[in-house]
Protein backbone atom coordinates (compact mmCIF):
# COMPACT_ATOMS: atom_id res chain seq x y z
CA UNK A 1 0.00 0.00 0.00
CA UNK A 2 1.20 3.48 -0.89
CA UNK A 3 0.11 6.35 1.37
CA UNK A 4 0.79 9.89 0.19
CA UNK A 5 0.11 12.80 2.54
CA UNK A 6 0.44 16.53 1.97
CA UNK A 7 2.81 16.16 -0.97
CA UNK A 8 4.03 19.53 -2.27
CA UNK A 9 6.48 20.30 -5.04
CA UNK A 10 7.41 23.52 -6.74
CA UNK A 11 9.22 23.41 -10.09
CA UNK A 12 10.61 26.79 -11.05
CA UNK A 13 7.79 29.25 -10.45
CA UNK A 14 5.01 26.69 -10.69
CA UNK A 15 3.54 24.99 -7.65
CA UNK A 16 2.97 21.61 -9.32
CA UNK A 17 1.77 19.59 -6.33
CA UNK A 18 0.03 21.39 -3.51
CA UNK A 19 -0.65 19.17 -0.56
CA UNK A 20 -1.70 16.05 -2.42
CA UNK A 21 -3.26 13.19 -0.41
CA UNK A 22 -3.66 9.82 -2.10
CA UNK A 23 -3.78 6.14 -1.13
CA UNK A 24 -2.98 3.29 -3.49
CA UNK A 25 -4.39 0.08 -2.03
CA UNK A 26 -2.59 -3.22 -2.32
CA UNK A 27 -3.48 -5.12 -5.49
CA UNK A 28 -5.53 -2.40 -7.12
CA UNK A 29 -4.93 -0.55 -10.36
CA UNK A 30 -5.29 3.15 -9.78
CA UNK A 31 -5.57 5.43 -12.80
CA UNK A 32 -4.56 9.04 -12.30
CA UNK A 33 -6.27 11.24 -14.89
CA UNK A 34 -5.67 14.89 -15.45
CA UNK A 35 -4.85 17.52 -18.05
CA UNK A 36 -1.24 18.00 -19.11
CA UNK A 37 0.94 19.85 -16.64
CA UNK A 38 -1.02 19.00 -13.48
CA UNK A 39 1.80 17.01 -11.98
CA UNK A 40 0.83 13.43 -12.87
CA UNK A 41 4.33 12.40 -13.99
CA UNK A 42 5.82 14.41 -11.12
CA UNK A 43 3.65 12.37 -8.74
CA UNK A 44 4.99 9.09 -10.17
CA UNK A 45 8.57 10.29 -9.92
CA UNK A 46 8.01 11.10 -6.26
CA UNK A 47 6.61 7.64 -5.53
CA UNK A 48 9.79 5.98 -6.82
CA UNK A 49 12.07 8.60 -5.28
CA UNK A 50 13.35 10.15 -8.53
CA UNK A 51 12.19 13.54 -7.24
CA UNK A 52 12.31 14.89 -3.70
CA UNK A 53 9.21 16.73 -2.43
CA UNK A 54 9.32 20.16 -0.78
CA UNK A 55 6.93 18.85 1.87
CA UNK A 56 4.81 15.82 2.66
CA UNK A 57 5.19 12.13 3.24
CA UNK A 58 5.16 8.99 1.11
CA UNK A 59 4.91 5.60 2.80
CA UNK A 60 5.41 2.33 0.95
CA UNK A 61 3.88 -0.45 3.09
CA UNK A 62 4.41 1.77 6.10
CA UNK A 63 8.02 2.71 5.30
CA UNK A 64 8.66 6.42 4.88
CA UNK A 65 10.72 7.09 1.75
CA UNK A 66 10.90 10.89 1.87
CA UNK A 67 14.35 11.85 3.09
CA UNK A 68 16.08 8.59 2.10
CA UNK A 69 19.40 8.83 0.23
CA UNK A 70 19.88 7.33 -3.26
CA UNK A 71 21.59 4.34 -1.73
CA UNK A 72 18.81 3.81 0.83
CA UNK A 73 16.18 4.14 -1.88
CA UNK A 74 17.60 1.34 -4.01
CA UNK A 75 16.08 -1.56 -2.02
CA UNK A 76 12.71 0.23 -2.18
CA UNK A 77 13.05 0.80 -5.92
CA UNK A 78 13.76 -2.86 -6.51
CA UNK A 79 10.18 -3.60 -5.51
CA UNK A 80 8.97 -1.27 -8.28
CA UNK A 81 8.85 -1.41 -12.04
CA UNK A 82 8.35 1.73 -14.04
CA UNK A 83 7.28 2.24 -17.63
CA UNK A 84 8.45 5.66 -18.77
CA UNK A 85 6.55 7.89 -21.17
CA UNK A 86 9.07 7.49 -23.98
CA UNK A 87 9.95 3.97 -22.72
CA UNK A 88 13.46 5.32 -21.85
CA UNK A 89 15.22 2.21 -23.15
CA UNK A 90 19.01 2.48 -23.01
CA UNK A 91 19.79 2.93 -26.68
CA UNK A 92 23.36 1.65 -26.36
CA UNK A 93 21.99 -1.79 -25.43
CA UNK A 94 19.87 -4.33 -27.29
CA UNK A 95 16.28 -5.05 -26.30
CA UNK A 96 17.36 -8.21 -24.48
CA UNK A 97 20.17 -6.42 -22.63
CA UNK A 98 17.72 -3.73 -21.53
CA UNK A 99 15.46 -6.34 -19.97
CA UNK A 100 18.44 -8.18 -18.44
CA UNK A 101 20.04 -5.06 -16.94
CA UNK A 102 18.34 -5.02 -13.55
CA UNK A 103 18.74 -8.79 -13.14
CA UNK A 104 22.47 -8.58 -13.78
CA UNK A 105 22.77 -5.70 -11.35
CA UNK A 106 20.71 -7.04 -8.47
CA UNK A 107 20.52 -10.80 -8.76
CA UNK A 108 24.15 -11.69 -9.15
CA UNK A 109 23.46 -15.27 -8.10
CA UNK A 110 21.62 -15.87 -11.36
CA UNK A 111 23.70 -17.63 -13.97
CA UNK A 112 23.65 -16.40 -17.56
CA UNK A 113 21.34 -19.13 -18.80
CA UNK A 114 18.77 -18.27 -16.15
CA UNK A 115 18.96 -14.55 -16.99
CA UNK A 116 18.48 -15.37 -20.67
CA UNK A 117 15.52 -17.61 -19.88
CA UNK A 118 13.87 -14.86 -17.83
CA UNK A 119 14.52 -12.23 -20.49
CA UNK A 120 12.91 -14.39 -23.17
CA UNK A 121 9.98 -15.15 -20.86
CA UNK A 122 9.31 -11.45 -20.25
CA UNK A 123 9.65 -10.62 -23.92
CA UNK A 124 7.16 -13.41 -24.65
CA UNK A 125 4.69 -11.79 -22.24
CA UNK A 126 4.73 -8.68 -24.42
CA UNK A 127 4.94 -10.65 -27.68
CA UNK A 128 8.42 -9.49 -28.66
CA UNK A 129 10.65 -12.53 -28.11
CA UNK A 130 11.90 -12.19 -31.70
CA UNK A 131 13.20 -8.68 -31.04
CA UNK A 132 15.73 -9.57 -28.32
CA UNK A 133 18.78 -8.85 -30.46
CA UNK A 134 17.49 -5.57 -31.96
CA UNK A 135 18.51 -2.09 -30.85
CA UNK A 136 15.72 0.16 -29.51
CA UNK A 137 16.29 2.66 -32.33
CA UNK A 138 14.95 0.15 -34.87
CA UNK A 139 11.65 -0.39 -33.00
CA UNK A 140 8.34 1.45 -33.43
CA UNK A 141 6.90 3.52 -30.56
CA UNK A 142 4.47 0.77 -29.58
CA UNK A 143 7.16 -1.90 -29.60
CA UNK A 144 9.41 0.28 -27.49
CA UNK A 145 6.67 0.67 -24.87
CA UNK A 146 6.17 -3.09 -24.82
CA UNK A 147 9.90 -3.60 -24.26
CA UNK A 148 9.71 -0.94 -21.54
CA UNK A 149 6.94 -2.97 -19.94
CA UNK A 150 8.99 -6.17 -20.18
CA UNK A 151 11.89 -4.35 -18.52
CA UNK A 152 9.61 -2.95 -15.80
CA UNK A 153 8.53 -6.53 -15.01
CA UNK A 154 12.07 -7.94 -15.05
CA UNK A 155 12.47 -8.15 -11.28
CA UNK A 156 8.93 -9.41 -10.46
CA UNK A 157 7.91 -6.07 -8.95
CA UNK A 158 5.14 -5.65 -6.38
CA UNK A 159 4.33 -2.22 -7.76
CA UNK A 160 4.30 -1.05 -11.36
CA UNK A 161 4.11 2.62 -12.33
CA UNK A 162 2.98 3.54 -15.83
CA UNK A 163 3.69 7.04 -17.17
CA UNK A 164 1.24 7.64 -20.04
CA UNK A 165 1.48 4.10 -21.43
CA UNK A 166 -0.77 4.77 -24.46
CA UNK A 167 0.17 8.35 -25.33
CA UNK A 168 1.32 8.75 -28.91
CA UNK A 169 0.15 5.29 -30.00
CA UNK A 170 -2.48 4.43 -32.60
CA UNK A 171 -5.78 3.19 -31.07
CA UNK A 172 -5.08 -0.46 -31.91
CA UNK A 173 -1.57 -0.48 -30.44
CA UNK A 174 -2.94 1.45 -27.45
CA UNK A 175 -5.43 -1.35 -26.88
CA UNK A 176 -2.63 -3.93 -27.09
CA UNK A 177 -0.86 -2.05 -24.28
CA UNK A 178 -4.09 -1.76 -22.27
CA UNK A 179 -4.72 -5.50 -22.56
CA UNK A 180 -1.12 -6.18 -21.52
CA UNK A 181 -1.51 -4.00 -18.42
CA UNK A 182 -4.81 -5.73 -17.58
CA UNK A 183 -3.28 -9.16 -18.21
CA UNK A 184 -0.23 -8.48 -16.05
CA UNK A 185 -2.46 -7.52 -13.14
CA UNK A 186 -4.52 -10.69 -13.40
CA UNK A 187 -1.49 -12.96 -13.69
CA UNK A 188 1.02 -11.24 -11.42
CA UNK A 189 -1.28 -9.48 -8.92
CA UNK A 190 0.80 -6.33 -8.91
CA UNK A 191 -0.35 -2.99 -7.54
CA UNK A 192 -0.32 -0.42 -10.33
CA UNK A 193 -0.51 3.32 -10.74
CA UNK A 194 -1.30 4.41 -14.29
CA UNK A 195 -0.92 8.06 -15.19
CA UNK A 196 -2.75 8.98 -18.37
CA UNK A 197 -5.14 11.38 -20.06
CA UNK A 198 -6.58 8.63 -22.21
CA UNK A 199 -10.12 8.02 -20.89
CA UNK A 200 -10.62 4.82 -22.87
CA UNK A 201 -7.41 3.39 -21.44
CA UNK A 202 -8.55 4.42 -17.95
CA UNK A 203 -11.88 2.60 -18.29
CA UNK A 204 -10.10 -0.52 -19.59
CA UNK A 205 -7.43 -0.92 -16.92
CA UNK A 206 -8.70 0.88 -13.78
CA UNK A 207 -10.10 -0.47 -10.56
CA UNK A 208 -10.29 3.11 -9.33
CA UNK A 209 -9.91 6.47 -11.06
CA UNK A 210 -8.78 9.77 -9.58
CA UNK A 211 -8.68 13.17 -11.29
CA UNK A 212 -5.70 15.37 -10.57
CA UNK A 213 -6.00 19.10 -11.15
CA UNK A 214 -3.90 21.95 -9.83
CA UNK A 215 -1.83 19.56 -7.76
CA UNK A 216 -4.75 18.02 -5.82
CA UNK A 217 -7.13 15.09 -6.17
CA UNK A 218 -10.49 16.47 -7.38
CA UNK A 219 -12.40 13.22 -7.99
CA UNK A 220 -12.11 9.65 -6.73
CA UNK A 221 -14.29 6.74 -7.89
CA UNK A 222 -14.61 3.41 -9.69
CA UNK A 223 -14.82 3.38 -13.51
CA UNK A 224 -18.57 2.84 -13.18
CA UNK A 225 -18.95 5.82 -10.82
CA UNK A 226 -16.77 7.86 -13.14
CA UNK A 227 -19.03 7.10 -16.11
CA UNK A 228 -22.13 8.20 -14.23
CA UNK A 229 -20.71 11.09 -12.22
CA UNK A 230 -22.14 14.58 -12.38
CA UNK A 231 -18.93 16.06 -10.95
CA UNK A 232 -18.36 19.08 -13.21
CA UNK A 233 -14.59 18.63 -13.56
CA UNK A 234 -14.74 14.91 -14.25
CA UNK A 235 -17.55 15.40 -16.77
CA UNK A 236 -15.59 18.11 -18.56
CA UNK A 237 -12.56 15.84 -18.73
CA UNK A 238 -14.53 12.83 -19.99
CA UNK A 239 -16.32 14.88 -22.62
CA UNK A 240 -13.12 16.63 -23.63
CA UNK A 241 -14.66 20.09 -23.52
CA UNK A 242 -12.67 23.31 -23.32
CA UNK A 243 -15.62 24.90 -21.45
CA UNK A 244 -15.86 24.23 -17.72
CA UNK A 245 -14.06 24.49 -14.40
CA UNK A 246 -10.77 23.11 -15.83
CA UNK A 247 -8.93 25.95 -17.50
CA UNK A 248 -7.00 24.90 -20.62
CA UNK A 249 -3.34 25.86 -20.26
Amino acid sequence: MIEIRGLAKRLGRRQVLQGLDLDVRAGETLVVLGPSGTGKSVLLKHIIGLMKPDAGSIRIDGEEIVGLSEEQLNPVRRRFGMLFQGAALLDSLTVGENVALAMQEHARGLDEAEVRRRVIERLEWVGLQAAAALKPASLSGGMRKRVGLARALAMDPEYVLYDEPTTGLDPITADVINQLIRGMQKQLHVTSVVVTHDIKSAYTVADRIVLLYQGRVMFDGTPEETRRTDDAMMRQFIEGSSQGPIQPV
Binding site: K45, L73, N74, R77, M82, A88, A102, R151, M155
Partner: protein, 271 residues
Protein backbone atom coordinates in the same frame (compact mmCIF):
# COMPACT_ATOMS: atom_id res chain seq x y z
CA UNK B 1 25.42 62.79 -20.19
CA UNK B 2 21.98 62.88 -21.78
CA UNK B 3 21.25 59.19 -21.31
CA UNK B 4 22.52 59.29 -17.74
CA UNK B 5 24.97 56.42 -18.42
CA UNK B 6 28.50 57.27 -17.40
CA UNK B 7 31.62 55.31 -18.36
CA UNK B 8 31.80 54.33 -14.70
CA UNK B 9 28.38 52.65 -14.96
CA UNK B 10 29.53 50.71 -17.98
CA UNK B 11 32.74 49.66 -16.26
CA UNK B 12 30.80 48.61 -13.19
CA UNK B 13 28.44 46.55 -15.36
CA UNK B 14 31.43 44.92 -16.98
CA UNK B 15 33.00 44.05 -13.64
CA UNK B 16 29.69 42.67 -12.35
CA UNK B 17 29.25 40.59 -15.49
CA UNK B 18 32.79 39.23 -15.33
CA UNK B 19 32.61 38.43 -11.62
CA UNK B 20 29.20 36.82 -12.14
CA UNK B 21 30.59 34.60 -14.89
CA UNK B 22 33.62 33.71 -12.79
CA UNK B 23 31.38 32.89 -9.83
CA UNK B 24 29.16 30.67 -12.01
CA UNK B 25 32.18 28.88 -13.43
CA UNK B 26 33.69 28.23 -10.01
CA UNK B 27 30.34 26.99 -8.72
CA UNK B 28 30.17 24.64 -11.72
CA UNK B 29 33.62 23.26 -11.00
CA UNK B 30 32.57 22.79 -7.38
CA UNK B 31 29.43 20.87 -8.36
CA UNK B 32 31.43 18.73 -10.80
CA UNK B 33 33.91 17.92 -8.04
CA UNK B 34 31.05 16.98 -5.69
CA UNK B 35 29.75 14.65 -8.39
CA UNK B 36 33.18 13.02 -8.70
CA UNK B 37 33.27 12.53 -4.95
CA UNK B 38 29.89 10.82 -5.08
CA UNK B 39 30.98 8.62 -8.00
CA UNK B 40 34.12 7.65 -6.09
CA UNK B 41 32.18 6.79 -2.93
CA UNK B 42 29.66 4.70 -4.83
CA UNK B 43 32.42 2.89 -6.74
CA UNK B 44 34.40 2.15 -3.59
CA UNK B 45 31.34 0.47 -2.10
CA UNK B 46 31.02 -1.65 -5.23
CA UNK B 47 33.34 -1.22 -8.22
CA UNK B 48 31.91 -0.56 -11.69
CA UNK B 49 31.90 -3.46 -14.13
CA UNK B 50 35.17 -4.14 -15.94
CA UNK B 51 33.26 -4.59 -19.20
CA UNK B 52 31.91 -1.03 -19.01
CA UNK B 53 35.37 0.40 -18.25
CA UNK B 54 36.91 -1.56 -21.14
CA UNK B 55 34.17 -0.31 -23.47
CA UNK B 56 34.93 3.29 -22.54
CA UNK B 57 38.68 2.70 -22.82
CA UNK B 58 38.03 1.62 -26.39
CA UNK B 59 35.89 4.66 -27.13
CA UNK B 60 38.33 7.11 -25.53
CA UNK B 61 41.65 5.51 -26.41
CA UNK B 62 41.53 3.23 -29.41
CA UNK B 63 39.02 5.32 -31.36
CA UNK B 64 41.03 8.50 -30.75
CA UNK B 65 44.37 7.08 -31.75
CA UNK B 66 44.25 8.15 -35.42
CA UNK B 67 43.53 11.72 -34.33
CA UNK B 68 46.41 11.69 -31.86
CA UNK B 69 48.71 10.29 -34.56
CA UNK B 70 47.89 13.04 -37.06
CA UNK B 71 48.05 15.83 -34.49
CA UNK B 72 51.33 14.74 -32.93
CA UNK B 73 53.03 13.93 -36.26
CA UNK B 74 52.52 17.53 -37.35
CA UNK B 75 53.28 18.92 -33.91
CA UNK B 76 56.69 17.26 -34.03
CA UNK B 77 57.24 18.44 -37.60
CA UNK B 78 56.40 22.03 -36.71
CA UNK B 79 58.59 21.86 -33.61
CA UNK B 80 61.48 20.77 -35.82
CA UNK B 81 60.96 23.56 -38.35
CA UNK B 82 60.62 26.20 -35.64
CA UNK B 83 63.57 24.97 -33.62
CA UNK B 84 65.76 24.77 -36.72
CA UNK B 85 64.80 28.34 -37.64
CA UNK B 86 65.71 29.64 -34.19
CA UNK B 87 68.82 27.56 -33.58
CA UNK B 88 70.59 27.56 -36.94
CA UNK B 89 74.04 29.08 -36.78
CA UNK B 90 73.66 29.67 -33.01
CA UNK B 91 73.99 26.22 -31.49
CA UNK B 92 75.14 22.79 -32.76
CA UNK B 93 72.50 20.77 -34.62
CA UNK B 94 72.41 17.97 -32.07
CA UNK B 95 70.55 20.34 -29.79
CA UNK B 96 67.71 20.34 -32.30
CA UNK B 97 66.47 16.91 -31.25
CA UNK B 98 66.97 17.85 -27.60
CA UNK B 99 64.71 20.87 -27.96
CA UNK B 100 62.08 18.85 -29.79
CA UNK B 101 62.30 16.02 -27.26
CA UNK B 102 61.91 18.14 -24.17
CA UNK B 103 59.22 20.47 -25.51
CA UNK B 104 57.21 17.48 -26.74
CA UNK B 105 57.58 15.30 -23.68
CA UNK B 106 57.03 18.00 -21.06
CA UNK B 107 54.47 20.20 -22.72
CA UNK B 108 53.25 19.61 -26.26
CA UNK B 109 52.56 15.88 -25.97
CA UNK B 110 50.36 15.89 -22.86
CA UNK B 111 48.67 19.26 -23.45
CA UNK B 112 47.85 18.90 -27.14
CA UNK B 113 46.67 15.32 -26.62
CA UNK B 114 44.45 16.48 -23.76
CA UNK B 115 43.01 19.37 -25.78
CA UNK B 116 42.29 17.17 -28.79
CA UNK B 117 40.79 14.37 -26.67
CA UNK B 118 38.92 16.94 -24.60
CA UNK B 119 37.28 18.12 -27.79
CA UNK B 120 36.55 14.72 -29.23
CA UNK B 121 35.72 12.67 -26.15
CA UNK B 122 34.38 15.41 -23.88
CA UNK B 123 31.87 16.39 -26.55
CA UNK B 124 30.73 12.86 -27.23
CA UNK B 125 30.37 12.07 -23.51
CA UNK B 126 28.33 15.19 -22.86
CA UNK B 127 26.15 14.58 -25.93
CA UNK B 128 25.53 10.93 -25.08
CA UNK B 129 24.82 11.48 -21.38
CA UNK B 130 22.83 14.66 -22.14
CA UNK B 131 20.61 12.76 -24.56
CA UNK B 132 20.20 10.00 -21.97
CA UNK B 133 19.20 12.63 -19.43
CA UNK B 134 16.56 14.34 -21.58
CA UNK B 135 15.09 11.01 -22.75
CA UNK B 136 14.80 9.84 -19.11
CA UNK B 137 17.30 7.00 -19.59
CA UNK B 138 19.24 8.14 -16.52
CA UNK B 139 16.00 8.24 -14.52
CA UNK B 140 15.22 4.75 -15.82
CA UNK B 141 18.53 3.49 -14.42
CA UNK B 142 17.81 5.08 -11.05
CA UNK B 143 14.30 3.64 -11.08
CA UNK B 144 15.83 0.17 -11.55
CA UNK B 145 18.03 0.79 -8.51
CA UNK B 146 21.14 1.09 -10.68
CA UNK B 147 23.43 3.95 -9.71
CA UNK B 148 24.14 6.17 -12.73
CA UNK B 149 27.30 7.22 -10.90
CA UNK B 150 28.61 3.66 -10.93
CA UNK B 151 27.11 2.65 -14.27
CA UNK B 152 27.84 5.77 -16.36
CA UNK B 153 30.16 8.23 -14.62
CA UNK B 154 32.77 6.02 -12.97
CA UNK B 155 33.63 3.94 -16.09
CA UNK B 156 34.03 7.09 -18.21
CA UNK B 157 36.20 8.98 -15.74
CA UNK B 158 38.32 5.91 -14.96
CA UNK B 159 38.79 5.12 -18.64
CA UNK B 160 39.83 8.72 -19.36
CA UNK B 161 42.32 8.65 -16.46
CA UNK B 162 43.83 5.40 -17.76
CA UNK B 163 43.86 6.23 -21.46
CA UNK B 164 45.20 9.79 -21.43
CA UNK B 165 48.73 8.78 -20.29
CA UNK B 166 48.67 5.92 -22.80
CA UNK B 167 47.71 8.26 -25.65
CA UNK B 168 50.32 10.74 -24.43
CA UNK B 169 53.06 8.12 -24.75
CA UNK B 170 51.95 7.49 -28.34
CA UNK B 171 51.82 11.23 -28.97
CA UNK B 172 55.34 11.75 -27.58
CA UNK B 173 56.82 8.99 -29.72
CA UNK B 174 55.04 10.05 -32.89
CA UNK B 175 55.87 13.74 -32.43
CA UNK B 176 59.54 12.89 -31.99
CA UNK B 177 59.34 10.78 -35.12
CA UNK B 178 57.66 13.69 -36.98
CA UNK B 179 60.49 15.93 -35.81
CA UNK B 180 63.02 13.34 -36.97
CA UNK B 181 61.57 13.22 -40.48
CA UNK B 182 61.64 17.01 -40.87
CA UNK B 183 65.07 17.33 -39.25
CA UNK B 184 66.67 14.69 -41.47
CA UNK B 185 64.85 15.38 -44.75
CA UNK B 186 64.32 19.16 -44.65
CA UNK B 187 66.91 20.59 -42.25
CA UNK B 188 69.57 18.02 -43.27
CA UNK B 189 70.53 16.97 -39.77
CA UNK B 190 72.38 13.63 -40.02
CA UNK B 191 70.27 10.84 -38.56
CA UNK B 192 72.93 9.70 -35.99
CA UNK B 193 73.24 13.28 -34.68
CA UNK B 194 69.46 13.53 -34.13
CA UNK B 195 69.43 10.20 -32.29
CA UNK B 196 72.47 11.10 -30.23
CA UNK B 197 70.72 14.32 -29.13
CA UNK B 198 67.67 12.30 -28.05
CA UNK B 199 69.85 10.03 -25.92
CA UNK B 200 71.74 12.90 -24.33
CA UNK B 201 68.75 15.04 -23.48
CA UNK B 202 66.30 12.39 -22.37
CA UNK B 203 65.40 12.64 -18.70
CA UNK B 204 63.02 10.28 -16.97
CA UNK B 205 61.55 13.05 -14.83
CA UNK B 206 60.47 14.95 -17.95
CA UNK B 207 58.56 11.95 -19.22
CA UNK B 208 57.06 11.27 -15.79
CA UNK B 209 55.94 14.87 -15.34
CA UNK B 210 54.20 14.72 -18.71
CA UNK B 211 52.41 11.52 -17.74
CA UNK B 212 51.37 12.91 -14.35
CA UNK B 213 49.85 15.85 -16.21
CA UNK B 214 48.05 13.45 -18.52
CA UNK B 215 46.46 11.66 -15.56
CA UNK B 216 45.05 14.94 -14.27
CA UNK B 217 43.94 16.04 -17.73
CA UNK B 218 42.15 12.72 -18.18
CA UNK B 219 40.21 13.22 -14.96
CA UNK B 220 39.21 16.73 -16.08
CA UNK B 221 37.96 15.49 -19.46
CA UNK B 222 35.92 12.69 -17.90
CA UNK B 223 34.62 14.92 -15.14
CA UNK B 224 33.52 17.78 -17.43
CA UNK B 225 31.98 15.45 -20.03
CA UNK B 226 29.94 13.65 -17.38
CA UNK B 227 29.04 16.72 -15.36
CA UNK B 228 27.72 18.73 -18.30
CA UNK B 229 25.93 15.67 -19.65
CA UNK B 230 24.14 15.11 -16.35
CA UNK B 231 23.26 18.81 -16.04
CA UNK B 232 21.53 18.84 -19.43
CA UNK B 233 18.03 20.26 -19.48
CA UNK B 234 15.56 20.91 -22.26
CA UNK B 235 15.88 18.78 -25.36
CA UNK B 236 18.17 19.10 -28.35
CA UNK B 237 19.13 22.69 -27.58
CA UNK B 238 20.19 21.66 -24.08
CA UNK B 239 22.30 18.81 -25.45
CA UNK B 240 24.04 21.25 -27.81
CA UNK B 241 24.74 23.63 -24.95
CA UNK B 242 26.05 20.84 -22.72
CA UNK B 243 28.38 19.64 -25.48
CA UNK B 244 29.84 23.10 -25.99
CA UNK B 245 30.22 23.66 -22.26
CA UNK B 246 31.97 20.32 -21.78
CA UNK B 247 34.57 21.12 -24.45
CA UNK B 248 35.11 24.75 -23.47
CA UNK B 249 35.35 24.06 -19.75
CA UNK B 250 37.69 21.09 -20.11
CA UNK B 251 40.02 23.04 -22.44
CA UNK B 252 40.14 26.04 -20.10
CA UNK B 253 40.66 23.85 -17.02
CA UNK B 254 43.39 21.85 -18.78
CA UNK B 255 45.35 25.01 -19.52
CA UNK B 256 44.89 26.40 -16.01
CA UNK B 257 45.83 23.09 -14.42
CA UNK B 258 48.82 22.81 -16.77
CA UNK B 259 50.24 25.98 -15.24
CA UNK B 260 49.57 24.81 -11.69
CA UNK B 261 51.06 21.36 -12.35
CA UNK B 262 54.11 22.83 -14.08
CA UNK B 263 54.73 25.00 -11.02
CA UNK B 264 54.26 22.14 -8.60
CA UNK B 265 56.20 19.54 -10.60
CA UNK B 266 59.22 21.59 -11.64
CA UNK B 267 59.55 23.97 -8.73
CA UNK B 268 58.79 21.56 -5.92
CA UNK B 269 58.78 17.87 -6.78
CA UNK B 270 61.46 17.67 -9.51
CA UNK B 271 63.31 20.82 -8.45
Amino acid sequence: MASGVTPDDIALKGVRYASGRLGDSLAGVGRAATMMLEATQVSLRRPPSVRLIAQQMGAIGVDSLWLVIVVSLFTGAVAAVQAAYQLTSVVPLKYLSGVILRSVVIELGPVLTALVIGGRVGASMAAELGTMKVTEQIDALRAMGISPMRHLVAPRVLAAIIMLPVLTIYADAIAIFGGYVVAVVVVNVPSPIYLQGLREFFEMKDLLSGLVKAVFFGSIIGMMGCYHGFETEGGAEGVGRATTMAVVSSCVLILILDYILASVLFRIIFA
